[in-house]
Symmetry: C2
Amino acid sequence: MQILHTIPRADGFRMPAEFDRHEGCLMIWPSRGDSWRNGAWAARRAFVEVACAIAQSEAVTMLVEADQYETARAMLPPAVRLVEMATDDAWARDVCPTFVRNDQGLLRGIDWGFNAWGGLVDGLYFPWDKDNHVARKVCDLYRTDCYDFRDFILEGGSIHSDGEGTILTTENCLCSKGRNPHLTREEITQKLCEALGAEKVLWLPRGIYGDETNEHVDNICAFTAPGAVVLAWTDDPDDPQYALSQACETYLAAQTDASGRRIQVTRLPIPQTPVRITEAECEGLDYWDGVPTRTPGERLAASYVNFYIANHAVLVPQFDDPMDDVACDILAKAFPTRTIIPIAAREILLGGGNIHCITQQIPQHERSRCYA
Amino acid sequence: MQILHTIPRADGFRMPAEFDRHEGCLMIWPSRGDSWRNGAWAARRAFVEVACAIAQSEAVTMLVEADQYETARAMLPPAVRLVEMATDDAWARDVCPTFVRNDQGLLRGIDWGFNAWGGLVDGLYFPWDKDNHVARKVCDLYRTDCYDFRDFILEGGSIHSDGEGTILTTENCLCSKGRNPHLTREEITQKLCEALGAEKVLWLPRGIYGDETNEHVDNICAFTAPGAVVLAWTDDPDDPQYALSQACETYLAAQTDASGRRIQVTRLPIPQTPVRITEAECEGLDYWDGVPTRTPGERLAASYVNFYIANHAVLVPQFDDPMDDVACDILAKAFPTRTIIPIAAREILLGGGNIHCITQQIPQHERSRCYA
């Protein structure tokens, strides 16, 4: 693995869309007790279900802390590869490399700076050094060269690519004080375009209400095809999400993508009943720095947009809500060639994210098999 | 990775010879302070030299404890892949899987039981649980299925294969009380033949004087071709090695291999001056369980037989001794198609082994590239 200090766009590399063909998918085995209740046991079952569903489409590699290898191996099917790696938590989307590819099919990774969603300003845990090293180690594992963007703070969940030059992000997150406060929105636009081989960034103003990542785009809006997105939505004007989704829809209606297309927006409802953590669920959480990490009754940032697009399937989070089926129906129409796999996702959500947050795709590439 | 409980020989698998074509080589980054003096710093330089030399022939993967990743990455060239793995020490030969292959080129690993060269009887450290899990984890990493032989204690350094049905081992080691005392030599012969797809085991009586592995074969005798071995040798009847090498030569003279060939024995001298650890070297070693792990003046089991056969090279340990060149010349004749690479090996020897002990080849195979 070479560490590269050049610019991916200048080198002819760009980020493929998630709906482009994958070689595989990375995940991280959950274990920290202040993120995942009851010693992460319930979350693990959900992670296993996600891994098994993706493994039907593509090769899954689960990264695991050394002391959890035996447990993970016992709970996962043989098709899922386990590789030891030190991490601070289990958010593969945010700590694994963002992969870029050139026209010859060569793959490279981007190693962004990671500071736990806001560092000492409003980050979610401390320290985060192990997470910050994951991207480079994953590139090493796959023998892919690695672009050094460690001076720019970004998590994979804060960007989507249409694979054709358009990046989708949220202003609330990428312009937050805890990430790159020395950069203007225009400078961040330039950085994203250079790193991801893009020409245009669409800046949604906001994300999902209560999303503790400063409102990652991957919880509110996602490409389903070039020029088409689904947007988390509520028709209830009393819901705090209402104004946020409205603002995004208004923004998108005035935009075109890098190819000059208008953006076709499909509304995807949020759960009818807000998902709140119960007192019993809170009791299963370890304390952090002397205080509980969640409060009973706290509303969680539940959204069906946090799905994962595998080669042959779309994994859709489910919250035991009447909107579960509605969301699956809408996504079935948006992804007509893929099977919709509903996943009971409450335990993932309790940790602060969802299916998209715990996965990171590896695009298909020329040397799709790493050598010994 | 599937765990298999069948018999490799019955499944059509056998262990290729080391001089057969490799896909790559596994090593483990040294770090324990009671094996390697001065916090393993001097040993690391030697390991880096070994890795670089092998990387000219084949893909090297270095397994590394999480907290040593940064240091190892800084010291190793980009061509060497680093993968995190928990280990108890750095003996890849003894803890990594022994690979077997079938006629279709499919690769599988064997996971032997490992008890640190003798367990509670005369093992060299405690605990050894991380080492005992390495073989299975390496199979997982390479997505190769793994034969479960954990009820049979064996280290990779105690066997050599000619790739044509003959296994070379030492009675002093494999019949030791600390390994499989419940099995007779005949039962061990059968176990080796079943696991390694062999028909015959050649039982050298002894190994190198002072070898703390109970005299592994890989320090005294090695195949250079089917039907041909090099044997560590001294002409000095006062050297304690004299009788041991004599006994091996006498044994081999009376044997044929699995194909019915007589064994052609080439004598390979041991260093002219016994290699002894100095007081200064001992002072750099951490204590273990309250006692020093070595005594100043202690004779180390130095042998040129502990070489590694890479695809295009043979790495030969050197001890700053007049016999260094003699050994290289003899091995150059034995391996006429390969470059001889002399490696200053004193720091590896201080840890208790040599180049062959810190490497494990991955035979070339059908799916030589693991997928994502």
